[in-house]
């Protein structure tokens, strides 16, 4: 720490009635300044490399005009995820039952567990995830769902348009479910 060397000034004698007769030395310890200097350096070293944006790849399948060209997915291995308004997530396995009995709701946090369960139960060659965003969902919802595919290492997935009946079901469920928070 900085010290004040008062010993050298003891020899002067100014005269009667003077309070400060000692001459103070001006030696300053530079350690804190060097500490700050290195702190700033490390700050700049770290911030110059951190601002690169990353990119997420997406491959789109060619639009098949003939139904027989489209990939056939086995019904037991398919899970369909529907993205609704206000960060709502709905899903069903296989095909949608007529009375909507297998239509379940979830949110971005719980859907990961659902996907992990499905992945554990299904043989890898049958597992397909179909993502159907609705008109009201946001871009962030879609990217987050694609991210879940990467996080859970699900290789086969598809981004498809939502069917009219499903869109209706999502719309009704959106209104009844409370707004879910984002992950």
């Amino acid at each position: 720490m900085a010290e004040m060397d008062t010993s050298s000034g003891g020899g002067h004698k100014k005269g009667p009635g003077v309070k400060k007769g000692k001459k103070l030395s001006t030696r300053v310890d530079l350690t804190p300044m060097v500490d700050l200097g290195f702190l700033l350096i490390t700050f700049f070293i770290f911030t110059t490399t951190m601002s690169q944006a990353t990119a997420m790849r997406l491959f789109l399948p060619k639009d098949a005009d003939k139904p027989e060209d489209q990939n056939k997915a086995k019904e037991s291995g398919v899970i369909t995820i529907l993205l609704g308004k206000d960060n709502h997530v709905f899903y069903y396995e296989g095909t949608l039952a007529n009375d909507g009995s297998n239509f379940k709701s979830s949110n971005f946090h719980d859907i990961r567990q659902v996907l992990i369960d499905k992945k554990a139960r299904t043989p890898e060659k049958d597992l397909v995830v179909v993502i159907k965003p609705s008109v009201e969902c946001t871009y962030k919802n879609v990217v987050d769902m694609l991210d879940e595919m990467a996080i859970n290492v699900l290789k086969r997935y598809a981004l498809v348009d939502i069917a009219e009946s499903e869109a209706q079901l999502v719309k009704i469920s959106d209104q009844s479910a409370p707004a879910a928070g984002q992950n």
């Binding site: 990353t54 990119a55 639009d63 990961r112 871009y139 290492v153």
Partner: protein, 216 residues
Amino acid sequence: MGRAKLPRKSTNIDMTAMCDVAFLLLSFFILTTKFKPSEAIAVTTPKSVSSKVAPQKDYVQVIMDKDGKVFLEIENESKKEAIATALNSSHNLGLDVNAFKKAQFLGAPFSSLASFLKIPDDQRKGNNLPGIPVKDTANNELVEWMRVIKDSYSGEKAPALLLKGDNLAKYPAFKAIIDAFKKNDLLKFQMVTNPEGAPVGTDLWKKGQAGEKQED
């Protein structure tokens, strides 16, 4: 017994030299920090676990802001010249080729593109610009744009196709952009995101721990 008397030396080190080196390094890093160009269109991209770095050169970027307005950014200047001349001849727009080259991004329907280029640079901010119309499926101008861009790159290595979307943009705009890509047979594209680590305990995290490279 006499004790060994070790001569005590002074332990004061002159710190001036270290201080000089420290400030030299600091100045070096301050001067070599490149700031990102302040963007005229404010976009908050979502986070993703992808670790591939977004390409910095030779890319074509479609920007989608939170209201669903679409803007185009083409990085390669020589290609921009070719695209401007192609648009002038096919659509008879009368574009100023130099202004087109210098424009950081493009965001107007074809009919008002010439007047868009006349707006001075500092006033060309995202909020007041109309953006390229995509919502109407019959009149998705992005299809035409991508076609012209693809033609200008014919025979050469295709540029990286990037999509930078805002978190709050709604799905119809995103779908319209994807449709424009599909109609031009551009099936591979990348979405620009902020990096985040793989959540602990998931399969991807386990792969990372095992030392496997993230494939994509």
